[in-house]
């Protein structure tokens, strides 16, 4: 299980964000993207998810181009961007049910309730997401980490809007996933307590 990126080049309009970017991520590894604002962290993550078309280069998952076999790749990919991907008029339970069914996963109500409880949202299962606070919404979105079965997680600023307790919880979830042989790619300004051997760092400032 390897994600390899070869000679990737992305640009927005005339502005080249990064070029000749190559990396390889193995099972049980975490990749932390660094770079100043506007350096193309989000663009790189979206490119890795197939949402953004790279000018050049290719992305291989298990040795196959993700363009050729998206149905394999998307079954094993979990992406959480800046937006929470929650419907404000649905409650957390319904939101998570819909999102997991869309990727073809059948999750029982109990599993979702347990995940929500672990994220500190017990008792909020039936409250429309509209009525939750910013941090609570983020917690609902992050409970998907506990439900999904994808080995590859791509997280864009997952720590934003979380309080201290939730940050610690999220850190432990990420560390657990990596220790279980999963892969995580994330951008953050927060420290992630992982042994250096399992962590790769990539600074986008070097690739302009």
């Amino acid at each position: 299980m390897t994600l390899s990126v070869k000679q990737l080049q992305c640009s927005r309009g005339d502005l080249c964000l990064f070029q000749d970017l190559s990396l390889e991520l193995q099972a049980g590894q975490l990749l932390r993207l660094e770079g100043k604002n506007g350096s193309g962290k989000t663009t790189l993550l979206r490119t890795l998810c197939g949402l953004f078309m790279a000018d050049e280069g290719e992305i291989l998952w298990r040795g196959e181009s993700i363009r050729k076999t998206p149905e394999v790749y998307y079954r094993e990919l979990f992406y959480l961007g800046h937006q929470n991907a929650l419907k404000l008029d649905l409650n957390p339970l319904e939101n998570l049910q819909v999102l997991s069914r869309l990727v073809g996963q059948n999750v029982s109500e109990e599993v979702i309730e347990i995940a929500l409880a672990k994220m500190g949202l017990a008792g909020y299962e039936d409250v429309p997401v509209r009525k939750l606070s910013q941090g609570q919404k983020r917690r609902v979105a992050l409970s998907r980490l506990l439900i999904n079965e994808a080995p590859l997680w791509v997280l864009d600023e997952p720590f934003v809007a979380l309080d201290v307790a939730a940050v610690e919880l999220l850190q432990s979830i990420i560390v657990q996933h990596v220790q279980d042989g999963g892969m995580v790619i994330l951008t953050t300004h927060q420290a992630v307590p992982l042994p250096e051997t399992k962590m790769q760092r990539l600074s986008l400032d070097r690739y302009v």
Binding site: G50, Y79, K87, G104
Partner: protein, 223 residues
């Protein structure tokens, strides 16, 4: 694949039930446009009968464009659209579910309220039947074509107006044959089969190509 189709269809219907105003604006727009015309052109039964096919169809077209922007805009804004692009299922299947939901919420109500319009314009019972039938075949075509426009203009400023400019010309064939069928049915003994067949052909074409074109447009817009 079928399960995610149903999941999305159910979700969109459930969301609409929790925000009923979206559905009713389209319906009321249709009813109001239709009711305003007699006030302008007078209440003479013959005149009303003559303009009825055109008025009903143009009102249906405008009502349909009114709701188009919302097909994808909300999902785009809250990030659920991105998640839909990253599912193992073909995107066109999910698009199809969304368009069907959109038609059930904005097209079908027009078909059901059409007899009211027919009464206002002094149409005979068989003509009202034709009116409902052509709307039933025609309005899904409007939703399908409209979805392509909505996907292309997604995230653009002033996208709402742009959709109308893009999509209304493409509605012309449906307008011509839809209104034609109603006019013909007033003549009494004119066979209507050709109109039904042509409209059904439009519908089949739209069913096959529109989801696929919409999916392609969405991938470009989300980037």
């Amino acid at each position: 694949m079928f399960k995610s189709f149903l999941t999305l269809l159910k979700r969109d219907l459930m969301l609409a039930l929790r925000r009923k105003s979206d559905v009713f604006t389209v319906l009321f727009f249709f009813v109001i446009v239709i009711s305003i015309f007699p006030l302008g052109v007078g209440f003479e039964a013959d005149t009303l009968r003559k303009i009825a096919p055109g008025v009903v169809w143009v009102a249906a077209l405008l009502a349909s464009t009114l709701a188009l922007e919302r097909i994808f805009a909300n999902d785009f804004a809250d990030g659920t659209l991105e998640q839909m692009l990253m599912t193992p299922q073909p995107l066109s299947v999910l698009v199809f579910a969304k368009v069907i939901a959109h038609w059930l919420l904005t097209g079908l109500p027009l078909v059901l309220i059409a007899p009211l319009a027919g009464l206002q314009y002094h149409l005979s019972l068989p003509t009202i039947g034709t009116l409902m039938l052509v709307l039933l075949i025609g309005t899904p075509v409007l939703s399908m074509i409209g979805a392509i426009g909505a996907a292309l203009t997604l995230g653009l400023r002033g996208g709402g107006v742009l959709i109308s400019l893009l999509v209304l010309p493409l509605y012309i064939p449906v307008l011509v044959y839809g209104a034609g069928a109603i006019s013909a049915s007033m003549q009494g003994d004119v066979p209507l089969q050709a109109y039904y067949l042509l409209l059904s052909a439009f519908l089949l074409l739209a069913l096959v190509f529109a989801p696929w074109a919409t999916a392609a447009a969405l991938r470009i817009s989300v980037e």
